[in-house]
């Protein structure tokens, strides 16, 4: 990000960067940057808190009025209030894991779990008016079936022209995560960690993606291995056995 600032500024456009990783910004030495102490993925802080977001944005934009520079790296003083867990939050109910951990059983659990979360997802839509599902352009049930078929070892063809099957697998996994995380936050204000704990530890979808990662890593297809190894399970959630 700071490198982009360097190029744009060289071309005559003034820039100010939000910095999430201070050591990177320090190394790149951009013209102006505001470091923020927020979680990766949240450069302007808490969702649903316009006054807080405005303070971050203005703190950054005001650096454009400084006469002395480069390099300016300032620190935003306040933490994201929405990073705290919501003690009252309860995730939507999902069936408990079954003793049968086979790929066939896990695929079936995933496919039957998705419609159970529909009401929770509708609560999310009613509350926030938007959804980040859509990279695969598949209906969510079709995402589930596509991922389940991969898990069953069927290596299904790509359902979308111009997109390879492994790429569609990545997009379908992304859409499944988006659906679950939105459904999970249909009520309350859970932190990202609370939602992640629920998704990765309690849902059939989380278990299926873990199992799929393990299965794909054993494949001969290098592109599939790359996607499974890097773009399915976050580094913080990878289990040592998988």
């Amino acid at each position: 990000m700071s490198a982009l600032g360097h190029y744009l500024e060289e071309e005559g456009i003034a820039t100010v960067a939000i910095s999430l990783i201070r050591p990177q910004t320090k190394n790149t030495k951009p013209p102006r940057a505001l470091w923020v102490p927020f979680e990766l993925g949240r450069p302007f802080g808490p969702p649903g808190d316009p006054p807080f977001q405005r303070r971050v944005l203005l703190a950054a934009l005001r650096l454009l009025e400084r006469a002395k520079g480069p390099v300016i790296i300032e620190d935003f003083p306040d933490d994201d209030p929405r990073a705290k867990p919501d003690p009252g939050w309860r995730p939507p109910a999902v069936p408990a894991a079954s003793a049968d951990g086979s790929a066939e059983a896990l695929g079936a659990r995933l496919e039957s779990e998705i419609p159970l979360l529909q009401a929770a997802h509708e609560r999310w839509l009613a509350r926030h008016g938007r959804s980040a599902i859509g990279l695969s352009a598949l209906a969510i049930e079709d995402c589930g079936r596509y991922v389940a078929d991969w898990l069953r070892g069927r290596a299904p063809a790509s359902p979308r022209e111009g997109f390879s099957a492994p790429l569609m697998l990545r997009f379908a996994v992304d859409d499944l995560k988006a659906y679950y995380l939105e459904a999970g936050a249909g009520v309350g204000n859970p932190s990202s960690r609370q939602l992640g704990d629920w998704f990765w530890n309690e849902t059939a979808a989380g278990a299926a993606i873990h199992a799929l990662r393990t299965a794909c890593l054993a494949s001969d297809d290098e592109r599939l291995k790359l996607i499974a190894g890097n773009f399915m399970v976050p580094a913080a959630r990878v289990r040592s056995a998988s």
């Binding site: 050591p23 990766l40 302007f44 969702p47 926030h128 990279l135 580094a235």
Partner: protein, 153 residues
């Protein structure tokens, strides 16, 4: 709050030590007061308007986000899964603060908001992005933009 110390040690180390371009110059562009600036957002979140071509890997080009894009039509197609997406899912301003910019423009705190905003895919090597970034500067100037807020994830 999440600082590098809150991440898994291997990820924190990789991010902290990520190779950054070593620039020989220190550019510095000044301009009018904020109340007269025209501001654009340039994100590195791999943002893409629904229906547009998503980022597929470490692509070096950028996507165009017209200012009249609706919040429900902006998606993240960044290849990294090691950052929070739930904040953006709930409120696009967490990553793409267009509503906040509009409010600041309406109040006269900034001059105006650009007609078009842009997104790169931040996992791409910045050196690969350089030609596109320089070309983008020309497009920004055509839109009379004289201030860019750079938003990472």
């Amino acid at each position: 709050m999440t600082r590098l110390t809150d991440l898994p040690p291997a990820q924190a180390q990789r991010l902290a030590e990520l190779e950054c371009p070593d620039f020989a110059t220190r550019p510095w562009v000044t301009g009018p007061a904020l109340s007269r600036r025209r501001v654009a957002i340039v994100s590195s979140a791999g943002l893409v308007v629904r229906g547009d071509n998503p980022f597929r890997g470490r692509d070096a080009d950028y996507r165009v986000i017209p200012a009249d894009t609706k919040p429900e039509d902006l998606l993240i197609s960044h290849i990294s899964i090691n950052f929070d997406r739930t904040g953006f899912q709930e409120d696009w301003n967490v990553v793409f603060p267009l509503d906040r910019l509009r409010e600041l423009a309406a109040e006269g705190v900034i001059g105006s908001v650009a007609r078009i905003h842009y997104s790169f895919m931040g996992a791409t090597d910045p050196v690969q992005m350089e030609p596109n970034a320089r070309e983008l500067a020309g497009r920004l100037k055509q839109d009379r933009v004289d201030a860019v807020i750079l938003s990472p994830v």
